[in-house]
Amino acid sequence: MDNILEVTGLNKRYNKFSLTDVSFTLPEGCITGFIGANGAGKTTTIRAILGIIGRESGRIRIFGKDLEGNERSLKNRIGVVFDDSYFYDELSMAEMKSIVAPAYDKWCEADYRMYMELFKLDGKQTISTLSKGMKMKFALALALSHKAELLIMDEPTSGLDPQIRSQILDILGEYMKKGGRGVFFSTHIISDLDKIADTIVLIDSGRIILDCEKDVLVDRHRRVKGDISWLDNESRAMFLDLQATDYGFSGITARLDELRRRMPDILAERPDIEDIMLAYIGRGK
């Protein structure tokens, strides 16, 4: 299986923040969720992947080709959605579309109309009068209408209500039914990833902490609950994250078998991605 996107040893330094040796891959046919706290480096990474900002070192390969020297041909194959849309507020959506469309060799008017209809958007409406959800849908319609094989999105679901988010996730699932494609999207709404992501990349303070298949990541961890009197210092050390109250304890572990040997009566459940993320980056206390 080929990788749609490969980032190797990406470094970018700012005064107070830097990306350090950022490496990860997006395998073909996969939706990769890019997670991390605000300010962890998600947007900077995405901007560096797209060549919007420069980098000190590192290699970025898209569809097996280096970004440098292939920018024009690669960008034709990528659809991009940003959180803060780059639209001209005073234009109508149709006018905005006629500015964007010529930039792509494979612009498909029929696809565009299909998505506008699906999203119940009226092209004549002025962009400044759109709600946040409508703007995001419009951005998605533009990104999906030039036969893109890779979608890169920065927080596409942030600030949207659950219904619109779930609609957008369905569109992504639908988009992926065609082979050879990939979606890379950053989000801090982790529950979206439980539903749709195939792989997870976790970034913290500009470094990649995890790059893993989602289901494998969940399978490797458990939320373990039990009576606090069962805990001793050694078993406490087997948790990544542990909360204890007078009524019992609950914690995330990657060492279920060892814990179960020490405390046979514990209750073990599959955690969600948010539990795991917080266990790795800390609860910010």
């Binding site: 395998p27 046919g29 996969c30 699932g173 992926m176 039914k177 439980d194 539903k195 749709i196 992501a197 195939d198 792989t199 298949e213 989602k214 289901d215 494998v216 969940v218 399978d219 279920l256 209750l267 073990a268 459940e269 599959r270």
Partner: protein
């Protein structure tokens, strides 16, 4: 075919799905030549990763329960019946092992277990 994913099971996801597909094959619900869903569709419906479904299909193919035809699709295969019987036997053996463990824990001797088995087998 029903596939129910448990959040309290110790079994990895791919194994849970694989076992349930095998059960559907043993029970005759999935038959020789039936097409299986595309990886992406199945993953979307079960809300699991495509990589998990890919692993399920690969393992079932290696065990002889699926055959992949390039460009056409992937199909249930029950051609290797001996293999199937062997697997069925393994399922029962596994359950018997659990039962024997319980019996030992409760202090039920082998003869008594045997008697219980005879009675129940006759009743069915």
């Amino acid at each position: 075919m029903k596939v129910i994913i448990s959040n309290t099971s110790d079994q990895p996801l791919y194994q849970q799905i694989k076992e349930q597909m095998k059960e559907a094959i043993f029970s005759g619900e999935l038959r020789d030549g039936d097409p299986v869903p595309s990886i992406r569709n199945f993953a979307n419906d079960l809300k699991v990763s495509v990589l998990t479904i890919r692993r399920v299909y690969e393992e079932l193919e290696n065990e002889g329960f699926l055959s992949r035809q390039v460009g056409i699709g992937t199909f249930i295969s029950t051609g290797n019946l001996e293999l199937l019987r062997e697997s069925k036997r393994r399922v029962v053996e596994q359950k018997m092992a659990d039962m024997i463990k319980d019996a030992k824990a409760l202090g039920i001797p082998q003869e008594e277990l045997q008697e219980m088995m005879d009675i129940l087998y006759g009743e069915e």
